[in-house]
Structure formats: C-alpha cells, structure tokens
C-alpha cells in the first residue's frame, strides 16, 4: 500500500489510472453485451456464410458497402447480428423501397433460405443478437403471463406503438407501426435489435422471460378481437368522433328529412 501511495504523484499515474478505467468499463461492457446475445444459435455452415456474402454483395453492398462496413447511404452492419438481418429482410423492409424517413414494410424480397444465408454472413462479421429459437418464442409454456406483458408494454412500448398496439406517429415522417399480425419472431428481433427509430431493449433491460410475456400479450389482444364490436381502427376518440359526426349524424339527418317530408 505504501508503494502505491508513494507513487500516486508519479507523472505516469494519470495514464495508468486512465488505462485502468478503460479496461474496467470495456470489460464490463464486454460481459454485458455477451449477456445480450440470444441463447439459441441456429446452426450455420461455412457455405451459408459464403452464399450469404454473394447475396450481400449483389443486393446490399451498394448502400452498406463491401464487407458491410457502411457508406454515406447506409450504416455499417458489422456487429448488428443475425436477428437484425432476419428482421429487416424478413419483413421486407430491406432492401429499401426508397430513401425516406423510414424503411417501409413490403412483401419480402428473398426466400427464407436466402435470408438465413445473409444473416449468417452478417453474423460472421461481428458478434450480435442471434435469431431467437423456438423455445424463446414459445408463449404457451408455464409461467408466461400476458397481464405482466401488458404492463410492460404500456410502460415501454405504448408511447410510440399505442396502448392497443395500433401504431403512432413520430417526428418528421417517421412512425411506429401497428403490431397486429407481426410474428413473435419479428417482435422479439425488433426488441433486441432496435430497428429504425426503435430503441434496443436488451436482456438486461427486459429479460427474455419478460419479452415472452410481451409477445404473449400481443398474441392475446390479436386473438381476442374487439369485444365491443367493430374497433374503428383502434385509434381511440378521433375515429369515434369522426364516426358519430359522419355516420351517426348522417343517419339522424336522413330521418329528420324523412319525418318532415310528410307533414300531416
């Protein structure tokens, strides 16, 4: 201890301290980020990576650059993980329909096989979240609680996606899409990769079990339909007001005209 306190004013002490600090934060970050890598690694072969690279060069490299290192038109994909590729390509968002505030959903442009190969290639460039396996997405298991999922959804997701998951607007043309009909896999991947403007909800933030709850909640509200009748888009008071002014008052006015057209 004495030696340490004697050298605390040594010219190199500050540098040593800086190095120590960097090592500690780096180490913690490394530990934390490995905790976020999804558990189930689907088996990929070297040929998948090779085929994926070919597809990537042909379809993605224009914007994302050779070796996925990024260009002015598209970000680097090193370390985004297989889940990100599976989400973006699997929902048809990539390749982009057009440059705009946000990637639009459209019919997927690649087969599942091709998507898997590209995912394998991007995953081989750097560690990132993997495509979730069946057991992570299974919402029928013991202890899955949709009510807890609803609570988590309202606290973490509803401010953009709307409490009924009907979607909502963000700034300057960006938006959070409605979640009706989105598959459990894509919902999970969106949470771990944070596509477009969505923040990443890593496993330290929302645990895999809680993600399962959220998916279960979304499935329940998807399946139950609307108990009170047609939901008018689940958009809340705006569609209700529009409906009563147009349809409600319209019918009433038709009746008033009918009643006064036969006076006696």
């Amino acid at each position: 201890m004495k030696a340490l306190s004697q050298r605390r004013r040594h010219p190199l002490a500050a540098i040593a301290l800086l190095l120590m600090g960097l090592l500690v934060t780096g180490g913690i970050y490394a530990v934390a980020s490995t905790a976020n890598e999804a558990q189930a690694q689907t088996a990929v072969s070297a040929s998948d990576v090779e085929e994926g690279e070919k597809l990537f060069v042909a379809n993605c490299a224009t914007c994302h650059g050779m070796g996925a290192s990024g260009t002015e038109d598209g970000p680097s994909l090193v370390g985004v993980g297989a889940a990100s590729v599976d989400f973006q390509v699997g929902t048809g968002r990539m390749p982009l329909q057009m440059q705009g505030p946000q990637a639009q959903v459209k019919p997927p442009q690649f087969t599942d096989e091709q998507t898997r190969q590209m995912a394998a290639y991007v995953a081989s460039l750097g560690a990132g979240p993997a495509i979730p396996g069946e057991e992570v997405l299974d919402t029928t298991g013991e202890g899955v609680d949709p009510a807890n999922g609803g609570e988590l959804f309202r606290v973490n997701c509803a401010m953009c996606h709307n409490a009924a998951a009907a979607g909502g607007a963000l700034t300057r043309g960006k938006f959070a899409p409605g979640l009706e009909g989105v598959s459990a896999k894509h919902t999970y991947e969106a949470m771990v990769t944070g596509p477009q403007n969505m923040p990443v909800f890593n496993d330290a933030n929302i645990t895999p079990e809680e993600k399962q709850d959220i998916i279960a909640f979304l499935e329940v509200i998807d399946e139950q339909g609307s108990p009170g009748g047609a939901d008018l888009g689940a958009l809340g008071p705006v569609s209700e007001g529009l409906f009563i002014w147009v349809a409600g008052l319209g019918v009433i006015i038709a009746f008033t005209v009918w009643l006064t057209s036969r006076s006696s």
């Binding site: 505030p101 009510a147 309202r154 509803a158 401010m159 607007a169 909640f217 008018l232 409600g248 009433i252």
Partner: protein, 561 residues
Amino acid sequence: MSSSTVVNEYQPKTSVGRITNFVDSRVGGSAMVKEFGRKIFPDHWTFMFGEVALYTFVILLLSGTFLTFFFDPSMTEVAYDGSYVPLRGIEMSAAYASSLDISFDIRGGLFMRQVHHWSALLFVAAVSVHMLRVFFTGAFRKPRELNWVVGSVLLILAMAAGFTGYSLPDDLLSGNGLRIIDGVIKSIPVIGTYISFFLFGGEFPGTVIIPRLYVLHILLIPALILLLIAIHLFMVVAHKHTQFPGPGRTNDNVVGYPVGPVYAAKAGGFFFIVFGVVAAISAAFTINPIWNYGPYDPSPVSAGTQPDWYIGWVDGALRLMPGIIAGIPLEWEIPFPWGVNTLSLNVLLPALVPAGLVFTLMFAWPWIESWITKDKREHHLLDRPRNAPARTAVGVAGVVFYCVMWAAASSDLIATHFMVSLNDVTYWLRVLFVIGPFIGFIVARRIALALQRKDREIALHGRETGRIVRLPHGEFIEVHEQVDAYKRYTLVNFESHEVLPAEADVNGHVPKNEKRRAWISKFFFEDRVAPVTPAELEAAHSHGHHGEVAGEHDKASISSH
C-alpha cells in the same frame, strides 16, 4: 243529480273514463292539453336537432342510471380478478376494476356503457349542430337573445358533463386527459398550483379526484342541464318557434301544424328512432375500449392519446402552440417577494385564449349584430344563410377556426394515415390557424353574395331551361322559364341590411364608438345584393323578355330572354 248546477257536467260512461275524469277534474290536464296541443310548430328538418339533443340526453339519463348501479367511484387499489385475461392480477383502482366488470362480467353492461358513451358524443354533436342552425338562420335575434345565452351555457355544461364522464373509468387514456387538465390549471400564474392541489386533494393524481368528478358528473351537472333545458323549452314555448320565410308567413304568425295529435306522435316516434340509431351503433361499434388502455399510472403515455371530440379543439390548440416564438421562450420565471413563480405562457395561452375568444363571441353575438345593424325589432322569420352574407361569413370563420384546432388534435393520425411528416402537419395547421378564418370569411361571403345574385336572376328572368332555340333570322337564344309565385316569394322576400353611416348624437358629435360601428357596418354591407323590388319584378315580367331596369346594369351581361 238533484242540484241544478251539475246538469251539464260530463258524465263518463266507462271505468277508464271515470278514472281520467277523476284525475282531470283535480289537476286540470285537459286545459293544458287544449292549450299546448293546439300550439303550432313549423316544419323543417333543420328544426329537429334540438330534439335530437333532448332525446340523447334522456338516453344518457337512462343508461347512466344503469351504470351507477355497478360503478364504484373509488380509487382504492385492488387486484383485478375478473374475466379479462390480459389484465388479471394487475393492481388498479376500484373505479377501473368496476368499469371492467361492467364491460365483461355484467350482463348487458358493455352494451349499456357503449350506449352511454355513443349517446354522449351524439348529444354534444346535436347541440353543436342545433346551435349552428340557430346562428346561421339568425334565430338568436330579438326576442330570443337570452335563450341563445341559455343554449350556450348548455353547450358548456354538455362539454363539462362529457369530460367528467370521460375521466371516470380511470384508465390510462382518461388519466392522461386529467393530467393535461392538471397542467393547464397549474399554468395559471400564482394560484394555479393551489387550485390543482385543492382539486386533486394534494399532488396529482391523488385518491379523491374520481369520487369528486363522479359527484359532479351524476349530480350537479345533470341537475343544471335539466334546469336549463326546462328554461330553454319554456322560452321556446313563450317566444313561439321561428319559421323560414314563405307565402303567408309573417313576423306575427306561425305557419305549421299543431302539436296534437300528429306532432306529438311524431316527436314520440322520433325519440325511439334516435334511441334505435344509438342502440344499433352501440351494438355494432366499440367505443372507448378501456381494456386496451390499462389502468391509469402517471408514468406511461400512449401514442394516439386524444380527448373525446368536443374537447379536441382545446387539445389541438395546445398541440399547435410553439414553445418559442422568434427566439423568445414563452416560459418565464418571475421573482416574487415570496419566491420564484413560473409563467408558462406556452400552456396558458393556448388553453384559455382560443376557447375564451370563441365563447365570448358566441355569447355576445346577438348584441354585437344588433349594435352593428341598429336592428332592435323582433324577428320571427328566419334568414336563409345566403341572405345574411356578413353573418354567414363570421360563422364560417368561426367554424374554420374551430376545425383547424380540432384537426390539430388528431395531427399524429393525419401524419400516419396520409404518410406525411408530423412536423409539416403542425406547421401547416399553424398557418391555417392564423389565415384560415380570414379565408373562410372571404370565401363564404363571396359564395353567399353569388347565390343571392343567382336568386335575383331567377326571380327576374326565370330559370334556364337548357333549351336552345334558333330564331328565323339565325339568332340562338336559350329559353328561360318563369318560376311559380310560391318559389319566387322565397327568392324575393327577405330583409337585407344596408350600410348605416355614423350618426351624430344630440350635441352634434360623432362618438368614437359610433364611428367604429359605422366602419364595421360599411365593411359588412357595402357590397350587399338588394332584394328584388316589386317595380323591378314588374318591369322584368311586363315585356316578356329583355327586362332591364335602372340600377340593374351590373347583370346586363347575363343573357336573358
């Protein structure tokens, strides 16, 4: 029957007759029916919106009574254990839990909730349309100014009833709405925080607001509404109903049909029609799906949070207000002797100024108009909106002003559904907020004047038949057909205000106020279209075609036959 005084008394023959005679001879019902049953009401479909408002209010009382049997207005924390799975085990207030029970566990409960909510929306909509009809036809003029004021108070009470009811289920949506009200109250300088603490019984949200709103919603506000409806209807009977101008209709009579028996039956039937429409809507379309929103918790805010439509315009004004104008922030911290107070003009101004402006103009309009026109006579004949271009233009400007704010309340949905940027929607609506009313005023007045000119044309020269005839010398003419006398009557028989120049008072001075009035009068009426005079009509019709009268040169270009 020995006494000679009862010789002529009515002797009922059946038991029902005896009972009704017994009641009638004690309460005098037949005299009332005789008096009221012979009351004449004119017939026009636009006169029925007040009825719709009244009937939806009755539906509200009926369905609301049902809901009070099962609703628990308490903010006690309970764990939900009803049949709605996605909320089971969640902590929530007893108010929200009982609203969920009404929706899922009480037979007919969800239907009754939807009847209550849909009829509330229809109630305020019917009140609004009724008021627009009264405004645009000039039915607020003497002697009905006070009834217009009563109606305006009813509109405010209807909005208050709606908002207090919207807040009762204590779901996330209504809690967010209350939070905005709390923010508006707190933006009132100095006393705002005290009022907020007084209202919520401490820091927002507290545990007393739902019971307090409940008392307002089921007791005080409906009682006030009922009282004002009684006054409103009493005045309608006292003033008699207005009527549109037409042959035989004057300011001293009412042309129409008596209440009994046809109107009474029709009005009764119309109640069931309105009830049926509301019930059909409630059975087929969901409203306020509170189970989607979850229990209120001050931390989450859902996207797409809006108030019900009638509060939307105030919400829209809040959304439109910038926080900084031309580099000047609208939030100031003002040091007072007792400490620093925050003055949040970015909340205070949009929450109070547009609503204050609209309501002040609305209440004062009957007096403003009679001040400008110096018209203090009684009016029982309505104006067609085109025949009062200035008033119609003011009304349209008001409607545009309201609708811009209304649209702003749904700016996020406009952005997502029309694929445009939310920011751009806000910028455009800000522009429209300022210039929209002016554009509305100018366009509405031009359209009204154009329609008046068209009416004049038709009255003088008849309607265009579309039949083109070639005369022997080669000229083509279009044959015009005279309209019949009844139709012509409605085209020519209206009052039209003229510009009244400023008048000097007894001392020969022209007061500043009078000059101002004269300026507005000139602005309103300088380009008026005068009604067709008998002389003009005579001249136009006497020599068949090419009727031209002095002072009519402006329309000479329009071909006439």
